[in-house]
Every structure is written in C-alpha cells, then in structure tokens.
C-alpha cells in the first residue's frame, strides 16, 4: 500500500469524510483517523417489523384465490372490519387447513421447477408463529391436481394427522403425522375420492358406485378399508363434492344435486340417517333431474356451510334446470337439520358462489360472489359490510 494516496483520491476521501462528518458530527473522521469505538448509529425513526398474528380469530375468514392468474395465495379477512389482515403464498390448485388452535396454516400444493414443467414437487407447506412465516414443508408422494375442492385435504379433529387425496397412479389418501412432519402411509381407496375425517385416525371417502369407503387404523397404524352399502343413486342424483361435514361430531351432511340431504354419522360402521329434501322443507315438490323442471336447487363453488352448535345448514340456492349444480345462488336458505325445517330464505346482494359461517355465539355469515365478500348476520341475514376480494376458490373459518 502506498504511503501517500493519490492526490485526487485523497481529495475525494477528504470530501467524503467531511460529508459524513457533517452528518454525524464525528469530526475525528475529517482528520483521517479511525472513528471512536461506540455503537453504530440508528438512523431510522421507526422499525419495520411484522404486524403480529395471533391465529385465525372467531370472526375471521380465510380464502384461497381461484387460480394463479389473480395472484394466488391464501388471504385472511376480518369479518368485523372487512379488512385484509394476512396473506400467505400458494401455488395454483392449492388447498389449505388451519390447525385446531388456528395458529398454524397447512397448504397442500404442487410446483414444477420451471413453472409449467420440470421436476414436480408436491408439498405440504407450513406457516405459523407470531408472524405467520414459512416453517418449511413436508414432501408429499403426490396429490390430485384439480380445481379447488374443499375435501381433497383435511386434518383430523385433534390436528395430529393430515390427509391428502391423491389420484395418481390410483386413488389414495396420504396420511401425514404433522408434528413429526412425516408421511406415514398411503391408503389406497380404489374407485373413491375425497376425505371426510372422523375419530382419531379414521376417514371416509365417497365412491363412484354410490357407497362410502371407510378407512381406519389399528393400534399398529395399519389401515384397512371397507365399503358400505350404496346409499345414493350416483348416475341420476349424485352427492356433491362440497357436502358439509363436522369432524368433531363426525356428522356428514351429504347433499345431492337434487337437494336431498343424507345425514351420515361417520364411524368405522357409519350410521345412515333417512334422507330429506331441501325443497320439500320449503313446501315445494322435490327437485328431480327431469328435463324441463325449473326449480330451486343447491349450487355454487362451495354451496354449504354447517353450524354445529345450532344445527343450522346454510345453502346457496338458485332457480334452474337439472344439472346446474354450479350455478351461483341468489338466496341463502337456512335449515335446521334436526327438525328438517326451513327457517329462513335470505337474498344475497350478488349471486354467490361460496358460503361460510363462523362457529361462535354471535356468528357471522359470509357470502362470496365473484369479486365481493358480503358479511351478514347469521341470525338475521342482515348485510353488515362488504369488501372486494379476488375470485375465491375455497374458504375456511375459525372454529371449524
């Protein structure tokens, strides 16, 4: 190193020192000597941290964007303020579920290394902690790639196990030990699909012949699968994918295209209740698939929400022809599943594709149309507030 610096650089160095010195008042630098030993200065008036997240609260709703074109991801909206409170990244075709304490979010998703091609990665991504940060992922052996369907991914009621429905090479459910972050086994369910958990380790799946497949594990963790009798006519009036179920009680409400509700208590030996018609509960003739029958029918992307504490089923209903089970609902019908009575018919401000209801003592009812979230009082049907959203795919609320 030269003893004397180049004149130009020395002048520059001196100028820089003066500049820093002027700002810091550290005149010792101007003379070229080392700065005094002390803590580095803090220049910012404010720090930039992360707004704390205490878990999905009772009145908050989380939803996924329908597809990647609109930004993707999982978003949390507060029902009392209609504000966005948190967001998490996800791939297209993702599903997601909260742990029972609503502080950990599991996202079942698939990526390809080069976007639409390359090495495929199926993973269960984990988000949690006070900042809802990524906490790694569990590799999955595969998962179904489809438009969003609620029951392709589920947690056991106690949150210990995750269940991911896979389609290749054959229908199967991957059982994941979530605390251990390990896939335990893959349970094949030939000819069946979707996952409706019950008990500590059991789950049921709907089958293409109109029956249920019931899977449960013995003490050694080995699964057996049994098929029940056929309980619905799959070719003429199948049970809808988005039927509602309550994991804690094990009650599933399997609703068909024509609005027949099949209450089934899920267990190793399921108990099938007598089916009843939503239209008949409203004093109408039951809907059928007869050509030309225009009547009220359930429909939408997620047409059902169940509130276990008051035994209420909320259904998006539209007036239409047979086979219109994905038409949005112009009304929400509220039914008591014990008495099988229609309690209310509420108009929605815009035809809605999804419906959800919170599980607390002052429940909120959420109706989601193409670009709006409507927050309604779940006991009166009054619209309280609304906010714009991206086109929704799936919804989950606290207390589920």
């Amino acid at each position: 190193m030269k003893k004397t610096a180049h004149p130009a650089s020395r002048a520059a160095g001196a100028a820089l020192s003066l500049l820093i010195g002027a700002g810091l008042g550290a005149t010792a630098w101007a003379s070229g000597q080392a700065p005094p030993a002390k803590s580095p200065p803090v220049l910012q008036s404010e720090t930039a941290g992360v707004t704390p997240f205490a878990g999905l609260s009772a009145h908050q709703i989380s939803y996924s964007a329908l597809d990647g074109l609109e930004g993707g991801g999982v978003r949390v909206i507060d029902g009392d303020t209609a504000r966005l409170v948190a967001s998490v990244y996800s791939s297209q075709y993702a599903n997601f579920e909260w742990s029972p304490d609503h502080r950990t979010l599991y996202v079942s998703e698939t990526y390809w290394a080069l976007g639409n091609r390359g090495k495929r990665e199926d993973v269960l991504s984990i988000y949690g902690g006070p900042t809802l940060s990524n906490q790694g992922e569990i590799p999955l052996p595969g998962r179904l790639i489809s438009d969003p369907k609620t029951h392709t991914f589920a947690l056991s009621a106690d949150g210990h196990y995750g269940y991911v429905y896979s389609f290749q090479p054959a229908p199967a459910v991957s059982v994941i030990d979530l605390p251990a972050r390990k896939v335990l086994t893959s349970v094949e369910i030939p000819g069946c699909g979707l996952v409706f958990p019950f008990g500590p380790r059991g789950f049921a799946s709907l089958c293409a012949d109109g029956s249920l497949a019931v899977a449960d594990a013995n003490a050694q963790g080995q699964y057996k699968v049994r098929r029940t009798k056929r309980f619905f006519d799959v070719m003429n009036d199948p049970v809808m994918d988005e039927s509602a179920a309550d994991e804690r009680s094990g009650l599933a409400l399997f609703v068909t295209y024509d609005g027949w509700v099949h209450p089934v208590h899920l267990a190793d030996t399921p108990r099938f209740g007598k089916p009843w018609s939503i239209e008949q509960a409203a004093g109408m003739s039951p809907a059928t698939s007869q050509v030309g029958q225009i009547t009220w029918r359930p429909g939408g992307q997620v047409p059902f929400a169940y509130e276990p504490s008051r035994h209420r089923l909320f259904v998006l209903m539209h007036e239409g022809a047979p086979w219109t089970f994905e038409e949005p609902g112009s009304e929400i019908w509220v039914l008591d599943v014990r008495t099988r009575a229609l309690l209310h018919r509420w108009a929605v401000p815009q035809s809605a594709y999804l419906v959800a209801v919170t599980a607390d003592a002052h429940p909120l009812l959420f109706a989601l149309s193409q670009q709006w979230l409507w927050v309604m009082n779940a006991q009166s049907g009054t619209v309280q507030r609304a906010t714009q959203i991206v086109t929704p795919g799936l919804v989950r609320v606290g207390g589920e």
């Binding site: 052996p141 089958c207 012949d209």
Partner: protein
C-alpha cells in the same frame, strides 16, 4: 372433423403421432353413417366410452404411467386365472352401473378387440355372464390395489411372456413421486 375411413375392427395399426387428433381408430369405428363421415358407435362401444374411455382413452391409450394402457395389452390378462379375474374385480369395472349382460360384452370387447393379441398367442374363452356376475361380487376395494396389480402382472410376464409394457403403469411418474406403500393385508 376428419371423415371416417373404412377399417376392419380389431386390425392393429400404429398409433398416429401425438399431434394428429385421432377421432376414431379401428377399434371404435366399426361402421360409419351413410355419407356423414361420423362413426356410428355400437352400444358396447358407447358403454366403453362413457364408462372407461375418458381415462383410458378412446383408443385404449392415454397417459401410460398414470392410467393403465388397454390397447394391445388387456388380452394378456386372460392367460392366468388370476389375471382373468383381476380385470373384472377392479372396482371401476365391478361396481360400474352396467348390467351383468352389458358388462360382459364390454369386457369381451376390451380384451379381444381392444386388447388383442393375447399373451403367448394362446386362445382364451370369452367371459360369460355368470362368470362376470360372480367376479363382480368380489370387488378389489381394499387398500393395496396397485401392488396387487404388480403381482398379477409379474405372474403374467413370468408364465405367459406378457409384454413389459404392462409394467409401465404405476412406475414413478415424475421426479419427486415416491412409490406407494405396501398393503396391510
């Protein structure tokens, strides 16, 4: 829409390149409407197409690692009793909405027409209605279907020289996929 071209049913031919959309091949286009260029499908073919053709392909070929190929291969299953029974005990076959009579016709079409030739060139007798009715009452609905198929196929290959192509299905279909777990019972 390409006009139909007369071909005898069951005659083998090479598959067209992927870019050419095949509307009907010899296995399906047995007859054609007069002057319309649209293939007329028999009830058996309609049953195959609506119950099976979506996943397995109009010509019995789709995505070989994800869905078993039927074309030129199902005939091989008739070679062992286990293979013969396996095809009818498959849940999507056994529990389909087709009647015993129609299902028998469809299965014979799938193994003798779509699935020709049989392994080792051995003649095999067609399924009977009584046989199909018996087999479909014992569907393979337990977990572990894929490993069971592997064992059936291994038997066909060892005893009858069935094609190696039967093993393509179920192989890891993408990097990152792991094989299924062994069955519990």
């Amino acid at each position: 829409m390409t006009p139909g071209i007369g071909r005898a049913a069951g005659r083998g031919r090479a598959l067209l390149p992927a870019l050419a959309l095949v509307l009907c091949g010899p296995a399906v286009c047995a007859a054609h409407g007069p002057g319309t260029g649209v293939s007329r499908l028999t009830p058996v073919q309609v049953a195959y197409l609506t119950s099976c053709g979506g996943c397995h392909g109009v010509e019995g070929v789709s995505a070989p690692q994800a869905v078993p190929t039927l074309r030129h291969l199902t005939g091989s299953f008739l070679c062992t009793r286990q293979g013969r029974e396996f095809l009818v005990r498959l849940p999507d076959v056994a529990l389909s909405s087709l009647s015993n009579r129609m299902l028998t016709k469809v299965m014979n079409w799938v193994v003798f027409d779509l699935g020709a030739p049989a392994a080792g060139g051995r003649a095999a007798r067609p399924y009977t209605v009584a046989e199909v009715a018996r087999l479909r009452s014992e569907p393979l609905t337990q977990t572990g279907l894929t490993p069971y198929r592997d064992r059936v196929v291994a038997g066909l290959q060892a005893r009858c020289g069935a094609p190696a192509a039967l093993s393509v299905y179920g192989a890891a279909y993408g990097p990152g996929a792991t094989p299924g777990v062994q069955p519990t019972s």
